[in-house]
Structures are given as C-alpha cells and as structure tokens.
C-alpha cells in the first residue's frame, strides 16, 4: 500500500466520474481515486466484502445522494452508524441544492454538503478547494 490519499467516489453518472477525475488530475496531493456506481457497492467497498475484499480503507468519501439501489442517504446513515466506519469524513457531492436534502445530510452527520456547480470552472474550483481543505489542512484520523 502506498501513502497516497485514498478517495472513494460514489457516483453513478460516468460523466460526473470523469469530471471529478479531471478535476483531481492536477491535484497537488498524491491520491488514488476509487469509483463505485451504487450505494450497495459503496458499502461492500467500505466493509471489504465480496469483490472488494482487497479494497483499501478510504481516507475520505465523496458521496452522491441520488444513487441506484441503496441511495446516498442510506449509505450515509449506515456509515455513521458503523463504529468502524463512522470516523471517515463523508463529503456529500450532489447536484441537489434542495433545503430538504441539505437538512437530511447534516442530520445524518455528513461532514459537509456541496452542490455541484453547473459551471465547469466552478466545479474544478470546488473540487480543488475540497482537496486543499480535506487533504491538506484537515488532520484525518489515522486508520
């Protein structure tokens, strides 16, 4: 295992996956981005089950809310209710800006909530500032 920051991106839209990859490409912090497409697989990855038995433990999770099968809210609730996983910072990254979604996410102990900006330049800036804050400034719990 390397010392790279392990990021788990839970996102079902390939277009958004690629945008996040593009945005992280120029990141200053060495990182490894893992991508899963639905909530069920996200929980398997985090619990190192099934095809993700060898998955590394993510340092941080970028979570979309609108997901097939198990939706983002349930994933968030499961993670925060699991003593093994609850310390992993969860960044909700969603196209929603609905007040109800924001309330729900923080109610379930999301570490922060970000609405994906429509403008690509702003999207890049948002991902960069995530990187700057969560990967450089914040001290994350050691595994």
């Amino acid at each position: 295992m390397t010392d790279d920051i392990q990021i788990l991106l839970v996102e079902d839209n390939p277009g958004d996956v690629r945008l996040t990859q593009e945005a992280l490409r120029g990141a200053k912090v060495a990182n490894e981005l893992h991508v899963v497409g639905d909530g069920e697989e996200a929980l398997e990855f985090l619990r190192q089950q099934g095809r993700h038995a060898d998955a590394p433990r993510p340092d941080i999770v970028l979570l979309d809310l609108n997901l097939p099968r198990v939706d983002g809210g349930e994933v968030l609730a499961d993670i925060k209710a699991d003593p093994d996983l609850s310390r992993i910072p969860i960044i909700v990254l969603t196209s929603s800006s609905a007040e109800a979604d924001i309330q729900q996410a923080y109610g379930l102990h999301a570490n922060c909530f970000i609405s994906k900006p429509v403008d690509f330049t702003e999207f890049i800036a948002a991902v960069r500032s995530l990187e700057g804050f969560w990967l450089k400034i914040v001290r994350l719990p050691t595994k």
Binding site: N13, G15, D16, L19, E22, S95, K116, V118, D119, F120, T121, F123
Partner: protein, 381 residues
C-alpha cells in the same frame, strides 16, 4: 298583545287541523308569498302555507302532522336539532340554513327565521329558498380550489422542470468547456466556431434556467411580509451592480425611500431587476443616469425607477411584462425576457401594480406600488 297578533293566540290552542283550520287562522298566514309554517314543540308541523307547500311540492296532508325533522337532510339534522333546542329555550333564530326534502325526493336549501311567543307551545317559522345562491357558492368554491391547485401544480412543474433541466445541462456545459479549454486551436477553424456556438447556447440556457427557477421559486416560497428598509435594500443592490456600472460613468441617485411591509428577498430581486435593466438599456455614448424615488399614496408607497436610456415605444408598453418577450436582438442587449415578468409577479404578490410611465419613449420610467399591509383584525373579509 293578543289583539295585535290574533292568529298566534288562536294557533297556540288550535289542534292540528287540515283545511278546516284555514278560516280560523286568518288569511295572511295562508296567502303570504313568504314560506311559512308553525311547528309544535313536539316537532310536528302544525300548519304550512301555500307558498311552502308549492315550493316543496307537497299536499297539505303530506306535511301537516309529520315530524319536521324527518324532512331535513340527514347531514343537517344535528344542527337543526341544536337550533330547535335553542328555540325551545326561548332564543329566536334570525338566520339558519338547512336542506329540506321536497316531495320528489330532491332537497332545497332553505334559510329560516323562527321565533316562539311566550305561552305558546309552537314556533313560527319563515323560510326563503336559497338553493340557487348555494349552488353558486359551491361552484365558486370549487373553481377557486381548482384554480389554486392548478396554480400550485404549475409553479411546482416549473420548479421541477427547471431543476431537472439543469442536471443534463451541467454535463453539456462542463464537457463543452473542457473541449474548448483543451482543443481550441488544435482542430480546424470550423471546429472552433462550432464549439463557440455550443458554449454560447449553453450559457444562455443556463441563464434561462436560473431565471425560471427564480421565477417559480417566487411563488413556491410564501412571502412573509415584514418591515423592510427599501433605502438599505436599494443601496446594497447598487453596490452589487458596481461591476456593471464599472467605468461606464453611470450614476444612480437614490432618493428618500420608505420602510415598507414586504419580503426582503423578493423586494431586492425586484429592485435588482429594474436597476440592471436601467443600466443595461443605455443609449450609445450617453452615460446612464438612474433615479430611484418613492412617493406616498393614501394606502400605498409608489416607487419609481427612471433612466435616460433608449426607452420603450408606446406600442410595446404592455408587452414588456410578458414572459420571454424581448424587444432587442441578443447581440445588442442580452437577456432572457424573464426579468420584468418576474418583477410583475413579485409586485402582484404584494397586491401592487407595476407599469411603465407615459412618455417612456425617451428613457424609461417604471412605477410600482406596494400597498400598506392591513392588520388582520382590521381586514375586511
């Protein structure tokens, strides 16, 4: 007293009689055009006049001697009984409405007044047929409920549609921007031009969706009216427009503006739209000069926002408030055509009116009113 109303004293002691009682009770009761009846304290109809019988289609023998309550619509029986109890306790009834069954089984709405005289064992009732006005009221209620529902649906639809539209738009705009950033100048001139058009189209669509969202949100969010200092509001709107004003030499004069009852978010959207219009539609080589003022009306404040710009021809004066209505080419003056429609909606929401002053051919003057809030306890219903 007995002399003043002879029929009542007679009726008090009269047994239930059919046609035979007619001469004894006097002509006025039977011949009255008003629907009249007398009901004994035990609830049985003692007498009913011709008007009542005719209106309900009964023969005298159908009604007289029967329990009055048996003819009342089942849903109205409880209320009717309660009022009957009041009558027995000596309280007159000025107006009470219930549905009364006709001979053919249909019901008519009757408005009753009733009273009893001391010493009598019956009540004197008079009725008016109010079925038609009930029918109108029901129809109006139904139409209003339908209108409200369809308005809510529409607002909800506009909100969801514009919200869901922004999601695929985000994909298109992001990737075309990536294309432009990474490949401009590497393909041929045609490709650069095409990408340019896509970027331009996407930018316009984004502005449209943002404006539509703002428009639909202004009806989804119920405005809570509270005290708003319009002076502060306008000065901060002008500060936000510094970027637009820039080096253009434009000036905005803000007069004394009042504190009104409104919603700060909606009012600032209103001023922002009107101010940015005033600063946008400027005549060539003439720096914009905008004046914001307010005048006290008997029951409202009337605001004016005047500019020295290109003005609006009288023929277009009404049309400018229509959704998506634009009077200029996009390259000349950009915009979505939603701004003034939104302004009108906000003003209407507060019970006010917005219009364009006469003589707005040379420079525009927009006027709008924000009526005073009538305290709920003084409101006329």
């Amino acid at each position: 007293m007995a002399a003043q109303c002879p029929e009542k004293t007679l009726m008090a002691t009269a047994p239930i009689t059919l046609n035979g009682g007619r001469t004894a009770t006097g002509a006025s009761f039977y011949d009255s055009l008003e629907m009249l009846c007398n009901v004994q304290f035990d609830g049985r109809v003692a007498e009913a006049n011709e008007s009542l019988l005719q209106a309900l289609g009964y023969a005298e023998s159908d009604l007289v001697g029967s329990l009055s309550l048996d003819h009342v619509h089942p849903e109205d029986q409880e209320d009717t009984l309660a009022r009957a109890a009041e009558l027995l306790a000596g309280v007159d009834i000025a107006l009470f409405e219930n549905r009364y069954r006709c001979h053919d089984g249909s019901y008519r709405w009757l408005a009753w007044s009733a009273r009893s005289e001391p010493g009598e064992a019956q009540v004197h009732c008079a009725a008016r047929d109010v079925t038609e006005s009930h029918r109108h009221r029901d129809l109006v209620d139904k139409l209003l409920a339908e209108l409200e529902r369809s308005n809510t649906d529409l607002a909800q639809f506009a909100y969801v549609a514009s919200h869901d539209l922004s999601e695929p738009l985000r994909m298109v705009s992001s990737y075309v921007q990536l294309l432009a950033d990474r490949y401009t100048g590497q393909l041929d001139a045609d490709a650069d031009e095409f990408i340019g058009y896509v970027v331009d189209g996407v930018t316009r669509m984004k502005a449209l969706i943002d404006d539509l969202l703002a428009y639909s949100r202004s009806s989804v969010d119920v405005a809570v009216r509270r005290r708003v200092d319009c002076g502060t509001l306008v000065r901060s709107a002008v500060a936000d427009l510094k970027l637009v004003i820039g080096d253009s030499g434009a000036t905005v004069e803000v007069g004394d503006l009042p504190v009104v009852d409104g919603d700060p978010g909606q009012l600032s959207l209103l001023f922002m739209n009107l101010l940015s219009n005033a600063l946008k539609f400027v005549a060539p080589d003439v720096p914009a000069r905008v004046r914001v003022n307010a005048e006290r009306w008997p029951d409202a404040w009337c605001f004016s926002i005047a500019d020295n710009g290109i003005g609006i021809a009288a023929a277009h004066r009404e049309r400018v408030f229509l959704m998506f209505k634009r009077l200029h080419g996009r390259s000349q003056y950009p915009g979505t055509g939603i701004g003034l429609a939104l302004c009108q909606k906000i003003v209407t929401h507060f019970g006010g009116r917005i219009w364009l002053a006469e003589g707005s051919e040379r420079g525009c003057e927009f006027l709008f009113t924000i009526p005073d809030l009538v305290p709920p306890n003084e409101a006329v219903t």
